[in-house]
């Protein structure tokens, strides 16, 4: 003889009190909660404050990016403002997405590093932000800032960053990397040349 099906009782079986079973009071409570949130947020919007948790992208930057977040690329500069890059193409070689394009130039007057980039461009429509270019660089010429590049566009052709846009940061003030003329062990470095 077949035994009738008995439903399994779970340890977290939901229970409803009589008040909750009456349904209408709980619905009213829910409506009060949601309309309360609505009125609070509307009050904030009307008084000129922001009534949402959303961050406008790309107009606003989130404040809680991790300090080590791999975001937009930065080309470091020498004290004279030239890029630190020696156009060795190691970053472009290691790049798994093949987004870095470098055109090298040659300057005999600068005997310490005669090779320099004429063009240094990154296609952010394909960049995967892996940071391998930063690790491959022998000259510490490319780093990644924590901010995102902020390049949303309808057109992929618009999503390239050129050298001018990446040369935004002069690390003379960076204590971790002293430069000639910035004090510290700059003399030792200068002697190497």
């Amino acid at each position: 003889m077949k035994t009738p099906y008995k439903r399994k009782q779970y340890w977290n079986e939901p229970t409803l009190s009589g008040w909750e079973r009456a349904y209408l009071p709980e619905i009213l409570r829910g409506l009060v909660i949601t309309s309360g949130v609505f009125l609070r947020n509307m009050g904030r919007w009307i008084t000129g404050k922001k009534g949402a948790l959303t961050t406008y992208y790309p107009e606003e930057t989130r404040w809680d990016y991790a300090p080590l977040n791999r975001g937009k690329h930065v080309l470091t500069q020498r004290p004279d403002g030239k890029p630190q890059c020696i156009a060795c193409n190691m970053c472009a070689t290691v790049c798994p997405a093949k987004v870095i394009e470098i055109e090298a130039g040659f300057d005999l007057a600068d005997t310490a590093h005669p090779k320099f980039p004429v063009r240094f461009e990154i296609d952010y429509s394909r960049c995967i932000f892996c940071g391998l270019c930063v690790e491959a660089c022998p000259e510490d010429a490319i780093r990644m800032a924590k901010e995102t590049p902020g390049l949303p566009s309808d057109d992929r052709g618009q999503m390239w960053l050129t050298m001018d846009e990446m040369l935004t940061w002069k690390p003379q003030s960076d204590v971790a990397k002293p430069y000639p003329g910035a004090g510290g062990d700059a003399k030792a470095r200068g002697a190497e040349r």
Partner: protein, 382 residues
């Protein structure tokens, strides 16, 4: 007769324009209200650029409704191979048209005297006055139910003729759910019919212009608070919106009875839903919230409870009544959107048992108590 024609053409243009406007604006209100309720910003990227300039008008995302409409119009109108092409093509219109027609009997303002409004036309109008209501039918409320019953046929036609099992299930669900709640809706309104002694909506609203007990506005919600709650619930279920959106429950039925519809045919279903929000708002306002009446206001101005009066010109009264009606409708619409973004969806068997085992007995009890009270108030057994 030409005068009548002019006035009613203006009325019809106003009504259609108002409903279309509500249908468009409510998509925006729904998005924005939902966003603000859940700590978001909401759609705010669509813009209109003034030609030859770089000035982009965003206006808090109001243009997203236009973007939606254009998208619906230019999308591919995919036609399924169905055995009943005619029913498939006509179903969106069967849903859409009655929704517009219902507004014909709803009064959206008090008495209008065009001669007083435009003195230069006074001679031509010859002192005629018009109620601001397109059709002053004695059977107004019955017409409302007759036409809103037609939308059931549209939903079922769409479900049947799409040759898709999801659509068929959605159509079946729509049919049984809407018929059940139509009944509850009718029963809740019967109490009001007993009290006001008429089914003419214009007359109902005029009876709601006074006061009860000297200070309470004589609105339907004061006489029938319980029926107001039941009516609102049944109306939301009738409109198939969350928490009663079982006919189009996307997690179960993709889009229910309009799964096979695309482009503007699908847009018509959506637009009909938003216009029906406005229609429910207008109906609830008319039946329970005193229509265009403000408390203590009559056709000559305000009469405060203390006995002091505040006279208003005819033009000011007309404009106030129109605006008050629109504001009340907007508040009720906003409440429906609040409900939609607060409550989770029912299970399907719960929807039907809620209608037949919970709301129907309550509506009947409400009707019985109202009947007894009205009977005793009118002199009892005598």
């Amino acid at each position: 007769m030409t005068q009548d024609l002019v006035v009613y053409v203006v009325y019809i243009a106003y009504a259609v324009g108002m409903l279309m406007g509500f249908g468009t604006v409510l998509t925006w209100v729904e998005r924005k209200q939902a966003a603000v309720m859940s700590d978001r910003i909401g759609a705010n990227r669509a813009y209109v650029r003034i030609p030859f300039t770089q000035i982009k008008l965003v206006w808090l995302g109001l243009f997203h409704g236009i973007a939606d409409g254009i998208k619906m119009l230019v999308k591919e109108d995919f036609k399924p191979r169905t055995y009943d092409w005619y029913a498939y093509a006509v179903a969106p219109w069967v849903v859409f048209t009655p929704v517009l027609l219902v507004f014909g009997v709803i009064p959206f303002g008090g008495a209008l005297d065009p001669g007083r409004l435009f003195p230069s036309l006074a001679e031509w109008f010859g002192g005629r006055t018009y109620q601001m209501q397109i059709a002053q039918l004695d059977a107004g409320l019955l017409m409302v139910f007759a036409f809103s019953g037609l939308t059931i046929i549209g939903a079922m036609l769409a479900g049947w003729s799409s040759a898709n099992k999801f659509s068929l299930l959605g159509g079946l669900r729509a049919g049984s759910q809407m018929i059940s709640y139509e009944l509850v809706m009718g029963l809740t309104v019967l109490g009001l019919i007993l009290i006001f002694g008429t089914v003419d909506l214009g007359s109902m609203v005029r009876q709601q212009s006074g006061t009860v007990l000297g200070f309470l506005p004589a609105w339907g919600v004061v006489y029938q608070p319980f029926a107001a709650v039941l009516f609102m619930t049944a109306a939301i279920a009738e409109n198939k919106r969350i928490p009663f959106d079982l006919p189009e429950a996307e997690s179960e039925l993709i889009a229910g009875y309009y799964t096979e519809y695309s482009a503007m045919k699908m847009g018509l279903f959506m637009f009909a839903e938003f216009i029906e929000i406005a229609i429910i708002g207008a109906l609830f306002t008319t039946l329970f919230l005193g229509g265009y009446n403000l408390p203590y206001m009559n056709d000559a101005g305000f009469t405060w409870p203390g006995g002091s009066t505040w006279a208003m010109s005819h033009g000011a009264v007309v404009v106030t009544q129109l605006v008050v009606f629109l504001l009340k409708v907007l508040v009720v619409c906003s409440f429906q959107i609040l409900v939609r973004w607060t409550l989770p969806r029912f299970r399907y068997d719960q929807v039907l048992s809620f209608a037949w085992k919970f709301m129907l007995p309550l509506a009947l009890a409400n009707l019985a108590i109202t009947a007894v009270l009205v009977w005793s108030h009118q002199g009892g057994a005598a």
